[in-house]
Subunit: 105 residues, 2 copies
DNA sequence: CGTGTAAGGAATTCTGACACG
DNA sequence: CGTGTAAGGAATTCTGACACG
């Protein structure tokens, strides 16, 4: 009946990692990580004080971004890919909701 | 044939969480968390600069400690429990190694 | 014993800008 | 476009100590 798209209680989604550690984990510079945020490829949480907090899922996404950049892809292309992905997800979700509520037409 | 005692690549074991976030996650004060380290109940990593880094497993252990403290247990008692646990683990490990290497006597 | 707090300093992170290409 | 860097400041964390009980 549809695969869960997220495990809310899971460690993977919790935004608890500072940018310094994220940098170590990904091999990217802090500058690069902040830039990818500016280009809306990644969306950390913020502490009250304003420091960025990433999840392991974010870290994986950063590695993904890094690979695509290495392949010569540009940030706006990567962003378009992401938009496409979430669009597909939205359509699937809507389809599931329609089915669940038995809405016809 | 023995259950794996740790998943090394797992997010749960990675020491990536600062003390501020650990405090938020556990509800403990930073003072308390540092004290439990002093009493050797918890063992964070350190960054080059010296800041403490915890894993989700550490955070769970802290919650565990918090519960035992609430029950009136003292730090040294909690520590003894931990020592007992790892002692049992060591004996089991040795047993498995003995079996694997077919050492008799 | 376990925890709060003020103190002073060091490590970490932030933003906006200039540079290069 | 993507990234490095120096600049100045703010948020975060550290240790050792004093306090209370």
């Amino acid at each position: 009946m549809g695969i869960p798209l997220s495990e809310p209680g899971s460690y993977k989604q919790k935004k608890v990692i500072g940018i310094g550690i994220a940098s170590e984990l990904t091999g990217l510079s802090e500058r690069q990580i902040r830039y990818y945020e500016e280009r809306r490829l990644i969306f950390p949480d913020r502490s009250k004080g304003g420091t960025r907090k990433y999840s392991f899922a974010d870290v994986e996404k950063l590695v993904d971004i890094a690979n695509k950049m290495e392949d010569g892809m540009q940030t706006f292309e990567i962003r378009k890919e992401e938009l496409k992905k979430s669009d597909v997800r939205n359509k699937m979700l809507r389809g599931q909701l329609n089915a669940a509520f038995k809405m016809r037409k």
